[in-house]
Symmetry: C4
């Protein structure tokens, strides 16, 4: 059914952490989440189709059709200090404001059904120029995260008020309203192309926070397999900004865009 998450397997998780990485600027969050999922060896347990997703399908090189969708994976902790995970990724966000809030609620409903304790959302921060060593920015819904983020050189405080556009922001904001705290990690990216380099910077922080071991050697290759071209992602992003009455301009230092 379009509009309802199809749960085809019960995830074997206990008090899990939810990690979201959907398409956004530079596809940073999506690349990071997909790589994490592949390297950990997660199991897919649910899929979501929404009528606010873009009304098209993809044709893979083989000629096979793929719908626009979000997929849910779970992973059982292996070692002391690790946590069970639910990972949300996919090839689209919603195309309308109402759709973005609806998607947020669907994801949170599923998370709460399985006892999610914290939400980590992953995304890019467009800075309009190419950087060698992308910095990672953080935003939180609970002050208690801040010291630990600073220890890991994540930039938390800023000169001026910023924004997180799309699902990476809404999951945290509405999650907080529902009592689930969380963090958004944003890697600097030019915004001009798919950016596995920025995704690696984000994953590097995430894996240290969650005490995960993830090999990065296949990250670059995997990024290239991402079906949606970054040009399309940029247009989707621009559309969302226009829908909100925000015209996208060259970002300046005090006016950086956080999208994930």
């Amino acid at each position: 059914m379009i509009g309802e998450i199809d749960i085809f397997r019960e995830p074997d998780v206990d008090a899990p952490v939810m990690i979201e990485g959907l398409p956004g600027i530079g596809h940073v969050g999506r690349i990071a989440a997909r790589h994490l999922a592949s390297e950990l060896g997660v199991k897919k347990f649910a899929t979501l189709h929404l009528n606010s997703f873009s009304p098209h399908v993809l044709i893979k090189k083989s000629g096979l059709i793929q719908t626009m969708k979000n997929d849910f994976y779970y992973w059982k902790a292996q070692e002391e200090g690790q946590r069970d995970l639910i990972i949300v990724t996919g090839n689209t966000q919603s195309t309308t404001p109402e759709g973005q809030y609806n998607l947020t609620e669907k994801i949170l409903d599923l998370g709460m059904k399985y006892g999610v304790q914290e939400i980590y959302t992953l995304g890019g921060l467009g800075i309009g120029r190419i950087v060698d060593k992308p910095k990672v920015y953080g935003a939180v819904t609970d002050r208690s995260y801040i010291p630990r983020l600073k220890e890991m050189d994540v930039i938390v405080e800023r000169e001026s008020v910023g924004q997180i556009i799309g699902i990476s922001g809404l999951l945290l904001g509405i999650g907080k309203v529902r009592g689930i705290p969380g963090i958004c990690l944003m890697g600097e990216t030019s915004g001009y192309y798919l950016d596995p380099n920025s995704a690696q910077a984000v994953l590097d922080v995430l894996t240290r926070l969650l005490e995960l071991e993830v090999d990065m050697t296949r990250l670059q290759k995997r990024a290239k397999a991402t079906e949606m071209k970054v040009a399309e992602a940029q247009k989707m992003e621009r559309k969302m900004m226009e829908d909100m009455g925000m015209v996208q301009r060259e970002p300046s230092d005090d006016q950086m865009r956080y999208i994930g």
Copy 2:
């Protein structure tokens, strides 16, 4: 009732194949479906009005008003090897993403009510130049179709990921989620005008796949009777693409648009 398919006659079909041809690029799918329906001598059994269809009506040359709608026809197989058919055509698709998904679900609901086994969707593939002998491309939701398509010189594999925008893609993608396999056949077309030539190429493959006999002599004439001007169809298509954040550009070889 707007929003509900009005079934005014029970279709006499057994395990039918559904064929969709609604307005899209070059009106290829619509021209093909209308010609097929006329030549086979189908019976209309249902009509759908949706509030996501364009809020206007057409005035025919006679002064009579026609609503924007989708019509459903059925046809009973005549010979060994043929299959019963349900054909969906009309003068519009929906104008919003939500409306396109809603239309998809309405059509699939009707199809499943009457036991549809497979879905064939017909459309155009805009290549931005006029061709003498339009090639036909295929996309599928089940690998088992591929050998047979290749036998008929349908191009299935491609160099890069593509898209099917609109109902021809959604019917297959969401149909697959519901367990109904299918094929999209797309005829090359310039995208500049109504293209009965491309429609004929598509019909040629379709009739061989379904073992139907269809005379093509009246196809050209019938195409001209299509009420909606292709200029309007192009604008509708551009609007849908803009709604999805995709700006329409000149298609290049690795960036062809599949719309049906």
Copy 3:
């Protein structure tokens, strides 16, 4: 309640004719309907607010606020040969496709509740130039109206397929689906300003069709009192066309826009 017609008085009507004149090109339909209502001495019996109406209010010269709304009036036939009337007018149509279909259904629901037998919708036909003696065009949902319209020099047949954008078309098209026949009368108008001249041409036909006596002397003055500026109406119209993927151009002879 927004979304429900507030009926504050039972209309004393028997098998009435419904007449619609809402804002559109040149405000022809609205001016005609308002003048007719005033001259006949109708009674207001219902009001409709919809969430698809524009989210603003008007401030009258006195400083009093007026909502965007549609009003319903009734009139009891006075003489042999006349029919009871329900007149629908107001300061807005809906701003979205879904809203236009919703408005159509609300108006038809009310009409059917009181036994409406026929629907007459009034509008302008933009021709992009100023004319001295505007011609009146007609479109119908039942062939039997055509001879009588031709007698009155209404132009019914045309060279190419046309359109009626907005509520004047939908009321007839969806009305027909519900079994109520009707006519759209469209007066030629430049589309550049409020056009009482075109409204008078339309009223002239309407009053002969319905055997009504209406003094036209106050029509010009009344038109000037229309609150919404035609510039705004043009923008609303352009917005509706854009929503449907139709970009407004200079109309040519075979491409005239019918909006009412």
Copy 4:
């Protein structure tokens, strides 16, 4: 729950007056309402998230995330002649026409639940130039307010029909339909930046009307703390106007924009 006002404390009010100040042109209404709330020492009792609010969150300088929301405060009258108050403010209005009507109904539902007797909405009037002493304009839903407004040099009558775009207009218009009278106070503002000067002019009238004592010394400073940049507010406003088919132009004297 998104879409339902979360009332987390019963407001101790008797027949209160409701005051609305949400983002709009120059943020005049919002600055005025926030200052009033702070100086009076109000208590927050409810919060509203809507799926028509912009799908993003703010990141404060501290790194903490803030959702887009409307907050409700109450204040108990202290002296003879004062009235209990409910103040509505926040960082956003809805982004769609349907959303604006929905927001209006949610606010009115809450107001009626607690016996609101009158509604005062606060906003800016964009005049396209900077003025030293902003005049205050008024619009009402009940004539009986007019003499008192004129005593206070509020301009009520005008040369031509005007508009109030957004929630400040809808609350009054739909409030009137529900039987609650009210006033909109609009301070002249250039529309180019946050305008505490205009907010002070509006507050000056409001406090005299409601016999409130409010110190203005911290108003300028507080305005600077407003998170949303006025550039964004202008874009939101322009978006709303475009959604209604109104293109924003330079306002002239007889074509001033009232937005609040």
